[in-house]
Symmetry: C2
Subunit: 367 residues, 2 copies
């Protein structure tokens, strides 16, 4: 069943007349047409008993029509009131529009009030966000194939990253080299700004690449992701440039064990919290529990962060088709930081990663 058909079925099951899809990512998920409208209005309207339509800035209407979306596409000009046109199109399409679902996570108060003006007596209490996050949680084989391709691009990026490491090159220069190599390789977009952190800088898991230079005998951390047909990759590797301190090597060893063990033991039916605990227990037992300061992982798909969240307190059962990261990290301020991350998908037999770059400590000789 297509994503759109699932949404239509949900409208029928819940006796909801209209769904107003406002998040551009979800418009893309259900319609196949993707665009960032910035401050303009892009929306997909789906009905219980009528054909859906796309609504877009006039500038994008031809592109939307050419995108393969099978139904009507309507547009508006900058000086027009988009909600007046939407209301007119809805009222022309069906007599049943008394009961709406809106994306409460996405729709702004001003747009909610604007559409309400044209439908003052209509109930807009149904939350499409909850249905959509549940639907997006389970990836189809086709989605998983695209995410495998995105993973292969991330693996390609790691090879570029490792080749760029030498004495005196800045973190930011390496970041630039990685992203340039990807563009030449045909990868247009990163799923987030590439992270390159050497030595103690990697102890700040939210820091970006700096102008600091790579120095001999330290760890270097790379966290990167690419976009393929609207789906994200996200992976982290930590390598050695020369011979890092024993402490650094020890936290690497513990972090690797946590990553590999969690990936091996992840099985359908296990809860997200249980999986988090497998990795966390290894790190805690080694004495580094206080330095693993984030959740084990996050869901991934059309967003870099989505359901399921792999963390303490989340009793959601992991099931085949769910895609998420396994990314233990140990960050010791002033010393070093290590994170090792793969995203993958759950199958009936266990967790299968999208990235395959080896994880054992790679040592780049000094140069």
């Amino acid at each position: 069943m297509s994503q759109l058909a699932k949404l239509q079925k949900w409208l029928q099951d819940t006796n909801t007349d209209v769904a107003y899809i406002s998040d551009p990512i979800n418009v893309n998920y259900f319609s196949g047409y993707g665009s960032d409208p910035e401050e303009r209005v892009l929306a997909l309207f789906v009905f219980k008993d009528a054909d859906p339509f796309l609504f877009a800035p006039q500038l994008n209407v031809e592109e939307a029509k050419a995108s393969g979306f099978e139904y009507d596409v309507y547009g508006y000009l900058d000086h027009e009131n988009p909600f007046a046109i939407i209301a007119e199109k809805i009222k022309a399409r069906t007599k049943n529009f008394e009961n709406w679902a809106i994306e409460k996570d996405n729709l702004s108060v001003i747009r909610y009030q604007a559409i309400k003006t044209f439908f003052p007596t209509v109930g807009m209490t149904q939350d499409a966000s909850r249905f959509i996050e549940q639907t997006r949680l389970y990836k189809s084989d086709a989605e998983i194939e695209i995410m495998n391709q995105a993973g292969a691009d991330a693996d390609f990026a790691f090879q570029q990253a490792f080749a760029a490491v030498k004495t005196g090159v800045s973190e930011r220069d390496i970041m630039g080299q990685i992203e340039y190599a990807l563009k030449k390789h045909g990868v247009m977009e990163m799923s987030f700004s590439t992270i390159v952190q050497a030595g103690a800088n990697a102890a700040n898991p939210h820091g970006g690449p700096s102008l600091d230079l790579v120095e001999p005998n330290e760890l270097v951390l790379f966290d990167l992701g690419t976009v393929k047909d609207g789906y994200m990759s996200d992976a982290t590797r930590t390598i050695a440039y020369g011979t890092p301190s024993e402490k650094a090597q020890d936290i690497f060893k513990v972090c690797l064990e946590a990553n590999v063990t969690a990936m091996d033991k992840a099985k359908p039916g296990m809860t997200a919290a249980e999986l988090d605990k497998i990795a966390r227990d290894i790190i805690t037992k080694a004495g580094y529990g206080e330095f693993f300061i984030h959740r084990l992982g996050h869901g991934i798909g059309k967003s870099t962060h989505e359901f399921p969240s792999i963390m303490e307190g989340n009793n959601m059962e992991l099931q085949p088709g769910m895609c998420f990261s396994v990314e233990p990290g140990i960050y010791i301020p002033g010393v070093a930081g290590v994170r090792i991350e793969d995203c993958g998908h759950m199958t009936k037999d266990g967790f299968v990663p999208f990235t395959h770059t080896p994880k054992e400590l790679l040592t780049i000789p000094l140069s």
Copy 2:
């Protein structure tokens, strides 16, 4: 007066007890602390009669405290309800919280409902979005100085772009070279994905760089922008690689005249629509009116697109301190596309651009 003081004064003037600032860009604008919280909650609460506070994911609290924000910073952990903590902090801070302003353009319905749960009898009818967009419309000397620096980075980028043009290099390769050179130069972030379009590809003003190769004797269009301390640059140049067709040269000449004339004639007190018309009339008179398919310009600042919109129908008067683009374009499908764009600020004497790369047709010899 600081941005924060302006907001506090507005609360007093409108007798509003609390402002809930939810857009991360505006949190940064008023507090100085910038971060992308993704799915987590970042907020600034400002009061009529008490000190403001920042509220952030616990992961960001130390960073926020170190950012120079002078008041309290509170955090929450992933498993806590952020709105319960916010409510507790507000009630501990002041007895006056009966009357709120929210950012209607930004606040989602789900978060509006979540905060409402803790303040069921409170009126949240004031729209802080309208006040903020008016405030952000007028840039201070300090903001204009940063935007001049961002413009200088864009000028640097054009030099890299022009040097990368040769036969057989792809649009995407040039894009990668530009962004890599910027990273080495210390520019971490683009304000949008760099556009490089050669020949007829430039006739699609919304298209990105492709794997198509630059060919001799065509125009090449570059539209790019950089970020400096949270402020954007945005500029477009079109150059010749060899000798383009006479038609291509003619649309370049008309577009340049439209750009230069509009920038020269822009004066305070003129409306946005009048400025748009100056450029549009030149293009229309030359016979290309139907190929100038977008507004003349957009405001710029902490966002790439903000007020004022330089378009037909907008009777807002342009005043000193306003920053916007002047970017006429002519797009002839299958033939060529030209756009020439500078952003700048209005002064009492006229429009002063942030970018200074020459605009006369630069010809790169074939190589």
